[in-house]
């Protein structure tokens, strides 16, 4: 789907989307459209429950006197309440509602909305962002899909008084959307396609955008002493990889970077502590943390963010085999700390332990954030509306919570503390890799904290938010790309040169 911006005006064909404020107030062009159709819009609204409240929609097919195939009325709610999120939801709703239509072209008449505090260019740019995010589709493996089952929409034109400004405002958002889509793509790919090596190849492609990409293989990691990460991957035929991406966009090259570390278990069988069969196919998305880091690096490079950022992905496949890690094994991490592996299915923290340590050791970041589909317990704790936030720094936590509110990817802070840390004491090693069911997400975070030096650090458990079983406002069912928008926003608001 191609998205463009244009001056306001009534098109002669295709579909049009008309924003409506609460109280059935039409935009200026909407009112003109209503007049030209002899009041068809007003009559249709009166005959339905459509009042222009947010998330309401009403379709009028082929109104008289015009060449239009359909008019889609979308509620925006109260003008004063219009913010970026609502503009995005509006654009997303346009695409969602037109998904089953036959039109290849549609125009959004977002010309003038009285009292809209965003301004028409910003509104249009965010509507475009929402449309692009919602219009995502992962259909490459559907070889027999009938044309009528695919969305017909090829071209979406968003109208704005200052359409050039809208276009300029959309450019960085478009780069973020491209990052989100990359994340959704790699997360959606099955594990026979995306494995550690092919995932690393995806990262290498970012070199085109000016990202410096390095990949460490098992031999190199062994030399560095990454026994925790390597232990997880040792049962797999696939070679484990550590991917290091660097985007040096700050004014000064020696400016300490912000660092992002992602768990990338390309498939998680659970290992010898094997998972039950039901639902195991979902474990292809156990690399969503790394997927997010990849998409985020693409977004930052794509919009030429003025920041030095490091993205690290720990990529392994967790398989049972004759050479697989066993419960009871003790591994030595790069930090020198020893870990008793009680449950081979608590493997993400083992991968992150070495990736986090390597990150701090080599890059001395000013702030370090990891993302991981780490625990099932976070789904029981918070459901799928918020990711779990664990943080050793109140200021960083506040920034992340704020970025979450602004980006629509919200996080909820969870507690940490010594009393929880006690749950991962081992009888034989420095720690064990699971603290039991109780406070399962917190003890996982405590485990990670043992590999964090004196740096502001946040851990985001995205096990509940990386994948959605139902359509969400700007996210179709499937891989969400959670974290890219959140962290892009965090960087934009706090870590970029002005």
């Amino acid at each position: 789907m191609k998205i463009s911006f244009a001056k306001p005006g009534l098109p002669g064909s295709g579909a049009v989307v008309v924003p409506v404020l609460e109280g059935r107030t039409l935009s200026a062009l909407g009112a003109e459209l209503d007049e030209r159709t002899g009041g068809a819009l007003g009559r249709a609204m009166a005959a339905s429950r459509f009042e222009g409240k947010k998330d309401q929609s009403l379709t009028i097919l082929a109104p008289a006197n015009l060449g239009l195939s359909r008019v889609l009325l979308l509620g925006l709610g109260k003008a004063a309440e219009i913010d970026e999120a609502r503009a995005q939801a509006f654009g997303a709703a346009a695409v969602a509602n037109l998904a089953s239509a036959t039109d290849e072209e549609a125009a959004i008449l977002s010309d003038v909305i009285d009292g809209n505090g965003l301004g028409s260019a910003t509104f249009a740019a965010h509507a475009a962002f929402g449309a692009r995010l919602r219009g995502y589709r992962f259909d490459k493996y559907r070889t027999k899909e009938k044309p009528e089952d695919k969305p017909a929409l090829k071209k979406l034109v968003i109208q704005a008084e200052d359409h050039k400004e809208a276009k300029a405002l959309f450019a960085p958002l478009n780069a973020v959307a491209e990052g989100v889509e990359l994340t959704r793509n790699v997360v959606s790919e099955p594990a026979n396609v995306i494995h550690p090596e092919s995932f690393a190849d995806e990262a290498r492609k970012l070199a085109d955008l000016g990202v410096d990409v390095e990949v460490l293989n098992e031999k190199q990691m062994k030399k560095l002493g990454m026994g925790a990460l390597l232990g997880v991957g040792q049962g797999s035929e696939r070679e484990s990889q550590l991917v290091i991406m660097r985007w040096m966009g700050a004014d000064k090259d020696n400016e300490a970077p912000v660092a992002f570390v992602g768990k990338g278990v390309t498939f998680d069988t659970g290992g010898i502590s094997i998972k039950p069969a039901a639902g195991m196919e979902d474990m292809k998305f156990d690399m969503a943390g790394a997927g997010c880091v990849l998409g985020l690096m693409k977004a930052l490079a794509g919009r030429k963010a003025r920041v030095n950022a490091v993205g690290i992905m720990g990529l392994v496949e967790n398989m049972p085999s004759g050479n697989a890690q066993r419960p009871g094994d003790v591994v030595t991490s790069m930090s020198g700390q020893t870990i008793e592996v009680i449950n081979t299915d608590a493997e993400g923290r083992l991968v992150l332990a070495d990736a986090l340590w390597y990150c701090q050791d080599r890059f001395k970041p000013k702030v370090m954030i990891d993302l991981a589909t780490l625990t099932g317990a976070i789904i029981i704790s918070l459901g799928s509306e918020h990711a779990g936030l664990f943080c050793n720094d109140d200021d960083l936590a506040a920034k992340l919570m704020e970025a979450g509110q602004k980006s629509g990817e919200t996080v909820w802070r969870m507690p940490m503390g010594d009393s929880y840390d006690k749950q991962i004491r081992s009888d034989i090693a420095d720690m064990k890799n699971t603290g039991g069911r109780e406070a399962g997400s917190i003890t996982a975070a405590q485990f990670l904290k043992r590999f964090v030096k004196d740096v502001p650090w946040a851990h985001i458990d995205i096990a509940g938010t990386a994948w959605t079983k139902k359509d969400l406002t700007v996210t179709p069912k499937g891989a969400t790309g959670f974290g890219v928008r959140l962290l892009d926003r965090l960087v934009a608001d706090h870590y970029e040169d002005r």
């Binding site: 029981i380 704790s381 459901g383 509306e385 969870m414």
Partner: protein, 507 residues
């Protein structure tokens, strides 16, 4: 006996052996407790005791005792002074002495004193009146003997001290404050004992009788029996209790302490499932015996009411205990049944083991309509999900009111009963939507059940009423000794509620 009083604790101005280093003039002394700061720096009393024969210095030389908070070293039968034992207590850093640390130290001392075989225990830490009272509070909380139904006493168990003397520079101030704290401790002990009571002894009726016992302290108590529940339309509470031979009831406790008529009260409501089999959606057999403690929310409310009445708190408070036994029988509630609540809302029962929210919903709606409260708190061992989320160290807090939530968080920290806020989300209405009734009581699968339960309850709180809900499934019991509580029932919630009232509602 439930809520039995502990060993007498008295305050004296004279430190141990102050005017007689040999102790020969003193009446029989069992144990002496003296303090050391971090780095083994002795407090004045420790210097005095050591001066008699150097016993402490010799013992310290051969130990790892470093004066860190909680370090304990016992010197048995020193040559002089004349006492059974000297307990050296590590006090930690002298700089940051706060009341919470004193309470913990009191708890540690209480545990060490249990080895004592009788006589007076004398504690000389050089504390002012305020800190001495906090220390004594810790002694009292940790020193509580858990409910014991053994038919004969354990011959190996030492008698412990017959009396504990806490030396302080201001005995009057200490006595004054401690008398209030001791009322709270009595409430805590009552709650612990009720939670420990097995369900064949503690039925809904028996629990209501425990509530009625507070009349002696000036609490007005009213019991709505089963027939009244049905007549008043508390269909959820009646429904949960319908499978048991021991009928359900609602206990209402009113404490009028403000001295003013017409003040809106604070409502404290507790889930009181005296035994939870799960009902027809029966639970697994392992750990099922712990379900005798599924009335810990109601026990906390009862304990808090005892604390408030005991210390004559200047507050209007209403305690509401939703009491029922969730049993399996031929007349038990079935999954799929639809009940009509007091609020009028109909509820489809998906899982009969999600019963706590049902009894609380009716209790909350009834109490709100009857008392027009200033604010409402509910306490319940409500969900396993909150244990998965927060473990055993914090309870989950849910609230529809920012100001109230902030007060509860603060009270929890101040009272050593920390809570953590979790969200209530409108999106969860979809998960609780029923095909046949206004709502259903839970959803299946890998779901955030603690959040669902809170959202469910919120639907029974009238618009505009500030409400806080504490899911204490993880904190009602402890599998290990804690500084202020021996293994077993914790009495969790009493101290938080008392603190909340003291800071937020008393005039």
């Amino acid at each position: 006996m439930i809520g039995e009083a502990g060993v007498p604790i008295v305050f004296e101005g004279r430190p141990p052996f102050a005017d007689d280093p040999t102790g020969s003039n003193d009446e029989y002394i069992g144990a002496v407790v003296v303090g050391y700061w971090r780095g083994c720096l002795p407090t004045p009393a420790a210097v005095v005791v050591d001066r008699a024969s150097g016993a402490l210095t010799r013992a310290l030389a051969g130990s790892h005792f470093a004066g860190e908070e909680g370090d304990v070293l016992t010197v048995l039968a020193p040559a002089s002074p004349a006492c059974e034992r000297v307990i050296l207590l590590g006090l930690g850093d002298e700089a940051e002495l706060d009341p919470a640390r004193l309470r913990r130290l009191g708890g540690i001392a209480a545990k060490a004193l249990m080895e004592s075989t009788g006589g007076r225990a004398v504690i000389g830490l050089g504390l002012d009146g305020f800190l001495a009272a906090q220390f004594a509070y810790g002694l009292r909380l940790r020193g509580h003997t858990p409910l014991n139904l053994r038919s004969r006493p354990d011959p190996d168990r030492p008698a412990g001290p017959a009396e504990i003397v806490v030396a302080t520079s201001d005995p009057d101030a200490a006595r004054n404050l401690f008398s209030r704290l001791e009322s709270v401790a009595e409430g805590v002990h009552l709650a612990r004992d009720l939670v420990a009571e097995p369900a064949n002894r503690l039925t809904p009726q028996a629990m209501a009788e425990q509530a009625a016992a507070l009349e002696a302290l000036g609490v007005e108590v009213e019991i709505l029996e089963d027939a009244a529940l049905k007549a008043e339309g508390l269909g959820l509470l009646a429904g949960v209790g319908q499978g048991a031979d021991n009928p359900p009831c609602l206990a209402l406790l009113r404490w009028r302490g403000s001295g003013e008529e017409g003040q809106p009260p604070l409502i404290l409501a507790g889930k009181g499932i005296t035994f939870d089999t799960g009902g027809i959606s029966i639970k697994r057999y392992d750990s099922l015996h712990e379900m005798k403690g599924d009335m810990a929310g109601a026990a906390a409310v009862l304990g808090a009411m005892r604390a408030l009445a005991g210390r004559q708190a200047r507050v209007e408070a209403v305690g509401v205990l939703a009491l029922a036994e969730n049993a399996v029988s031929g007349r038990a509630l079935r999954p799929g049944d639809v009940l009509r609540s007091y609020a009028g809302k109909t509820v489809e029962i998906i899982d009969t083991d999600a019963e706590g929210r049902l009894v609380l919903a009716d209790a909350l709606a009834y109490a709100c309509s009857r008392y027009r409260p200033a604010a409402v708190l509910s306490l319940a061992t409500l969900t396993g999900a909150v244990v998965t989320a927060l473990g055993r160290h914090r309870a989950g807090l849910f609230s529809n009111d920012e100001a109230l939530a902030a007060k509860v968080l603060e009270a929890g920290e101040a009272a050593d009963e920390p809570v953590w806020r979790l969200p209530i989300l409108p999106q969860h209405d979809e998960d609780l939507a029923s095909d046949i009734a206004d709502t259903r009581n839970c959803a299946w699968g890998k779901v955030p059940d603690a959040l669902h339960a809170a959202r469910f309850l919120m639907g029974f709180i009238p618009e505009g009423v500030a409400w806080g809900h504490l899911d204490m499934a993880g904190t009602a019991r402890t599998e290990e000794d804690l500084p202020l509580c021996p293994k077993g029932a914790t009495g969790w919630g009493v101290r938080l509620l008392d603190r909340l009232v003291a800071e937020g509602w008393e005039r």
